[in-house]
């Protein structure tokens, strides 16, 4: 303390008290948000349940939460008509992951190669845009015809779904690499190869990782739609079977299983992204 006395309202104790009150308020706010989120969930699910039980909507078509829950429990306990549930999940997951890996690796490589070459990038940029706007899911029919009912056709569809998204982003990321940074590296002594590995790829990395997030979802859609179009096992087939049996609860239950898988994958990708992009400001 200096000789000029601090006003009492600015003393250490007063400040500590103030921050305690402020922190308490922040905690209370967080609790409120969580509470309100739960309330929304309860109202939506409860409203659905009540509406179905009161026959305001037909549970035969629209099911209801308790029936969906029973369906999941039944699948877990007794297995599905195609075998145990975990096996269906595993098959779909396998197709998704293989498709995702092939599609994203190929997308990154092609994107970087094309992005680094001015002529190629000028020629192909228009086709990339076109390919991106085509509904690629339709190709699933071709793959089922050509590759059969096995895993290959689903993987192929997942690859196609993933490839263009990752490719487009890697391509864009490479082209957005800062020209001063490139010149700086060149003058510091970087060879063309060092330029690619030390400057171009790291600067494209945030674009690429952003696309991986979206594209895992696409891979899952590719695999499920592929199974839907014709398969011997997998969640997509489960949905198709449920649809054929007019089992709305089955469709919803399969949807929830898929959502759980997608959320888990998203969590894993987010932690990977945080590790790889630790150089980036947190507020991004």
């Amino acid at each position: 303390m200096t000789d000029i006395a601090m006003p009492a309202a600015l003393s250490d104790e007063a400040l500590a008290r103030e921050s305690e009150i402020a922190q308490g308020r922040i905690r209370a706010h967080r609790r409120n948000i969580i509470g309100l989120r739960l309330a929304v969930l309860v109202i939506v699910l409860g409203g659905w349940e009540i509406a179905a039980r009161q026959k305001w909507i037909d549970p035969f078509f629209y099911s209801m939460p308790s029936m969906i829950w029973d369906q999941i429990v039944e699948w877990v306990r007794d297995g599905t008509s195609q075998g145990p549930l975990w096996k269906q999940v595993l098959v779909t997951l396998e197709e998704t992951v293989i498709g995702f890996l092939i599609g994203s690796v190929a997308g990154v490589i092609c994107g970087i190669l094309l992005g680094r070459n001015k002529l190629l990038s000028e020629i192909f940029s228009i086709y990339i845009q076109i390919a991106n706007s085509i509904p690629r899911v339709v190709l699933g029919s071709i793959f089922v015809i050509a590759l059969g009912l096995g895993m290959a056709s689903k993987v192929a569809l997942a690859v196609v779904m993933v490839f263009f998204v990752v490719f487009g982003n890697a391509f864009q990321g490479v082209r957005e690499a800062d020209k001063y940074m490139i010149a700086n590296a060149q003058i510091l002594g970087a060879s063309p190869r060092q330029l690619t590995t030390a400057v171009v790829i790291p600067s494209a990395m945030s674009w690429i990782l952003a696309s991986l997030h979206v594209s895992f979802g696409f891979a899952l859609v590719g695999a499920v739609v592929g199974e839907f179009l014709g398969a011997k096992e997998g969640i997509g087939l489960l949905i198709a079977t449920a649809q054929g049996a007019f089992n709305a609860s089955g469709v919803f239950a399969a949807m929830i299983v898929l959502a759980a898988v997608a959320l888990l994958a998203d969590f894993l990708l987010t932690s990977l992204e945080k590790r790889l992009l630790k150089w980036r400001p947190a507020a991004f």
């Binding site: 001063y180 400057v199 150089w279």
Partner: protein, 266 residues
């Protein structure tokens, strides 16, 4: 050409009647530089001032070899420019440090690109980090540093390669006044230890006079050399004091008169 080779052995950089025709992205041809000649001696600090768009930065790009003169010749250390010379260092106006590398890895980039083993490069980098006063920040990432500190990283990154020719393109223009003054002192100190030549582009007249041995004034586009001023202020100079010396004020009046004519045209 070859007959005059002996005479300019002392020059680090030489422009001989250089003109540059520039083709822009939309296909228009313009003349950026017209019949430009100058020589920078070894160990000399030269500042280039001129109105916006007069081709100041273009001269630097011709020294690095990124641009080729349409007419005339550019020589570095007595040799015609063929590509990026490893003896050249460049400090940019924009932030050109690598945001995904820590300060240490940024500073070590040059030696590592040039084939030094990582351990050795890091030791050397630590030395330079110390020299620019960032000892505690070796493991920080650029986004965690202030603008002035990032500029220090850029200086260390350049000086670690021991450049015999240092090119600087308005390196401090984005900094605030106080930081800029500190960085100018820092630069003079670092430069004093190297004996290299510096070409410093700026639009700040006082900065040019305070730092340089000679100031080159360029005319408006198409740029050509208008006048050369010898700055005979004694060294070592201290930025906060040199600008109040009578000689400094006299020079800055003169040069400003020259420059005003060029700026007024546009």
């Amino acid at each position: 050409m070859s007959g005059t080779g002996k005479k300019d052995e002392g020059s680090a950089i030489e422009f001989r009647g250089v003109s540059l025709r520039f083709i822009s992205a939309d296909g228009n041809a313009t003349v950026a530089l017209r019949n430009f000649s100058m020589a920078v001696a070894r160990g000399e600090f030269v500042a280039i001032v001129g109105p916006t768009g007069c081709g100041k930065s273009t001269t630097l790009n011709m020294i690095t070899g990124l641009l080729k003169p349409t007419v005339g010749e550019v020589r570095v250390m007595g040799q015609p420019v063929t590509g990026i010379d490893p003896r050249i260092g460049f400090v940019f106006q924009a932030d050109a440090v690598f945001p995904w590398r820590s300060v240490r890895d940024n500073v070590a980039a040059g030696p590592m690109f040039r084939g030094q083993p990582k351990k050795q490069a890091h030791e050397l980098a630590d030395e330079w980090i110390q020299r620019v006063g960032l000892n505690k920040f070796g493991d920080h990432y650029p986004h965690q540093l202030s603008g002035g500190m990032r500029k220090r990283v850029a200086l260390a990154q350049t000086f670690i390669n021991n450049p015999e020719i240092l090119l600087m393109d308005e390196p401090f223009s984005a900094l605030d006044m106080q930081t800029r003054t500190l960085m100018q002192d820092e630069l003079l100190q670092l430069w004093a230890g190297t004996g290299g030549s510096v070409v410093f582009i700026t639009h700040d007249l006082e900065e040019a006079i305070a730092l340089a041995d000679r100031v080159f004034v360029l005319s408006a586009r198409p740029g050509t050399l208008k006048r050369v001023y010898e700055i005979d202020l004694p060294r070592p100079r201290v930025m906060s004091e040199v600008r109040y010396e009578p000689g400094f004020i006299e020079l800055s009046k003169h040069i400003w008169n020259d420059l005003r004519e060029e700026v007024a045209i546009h």
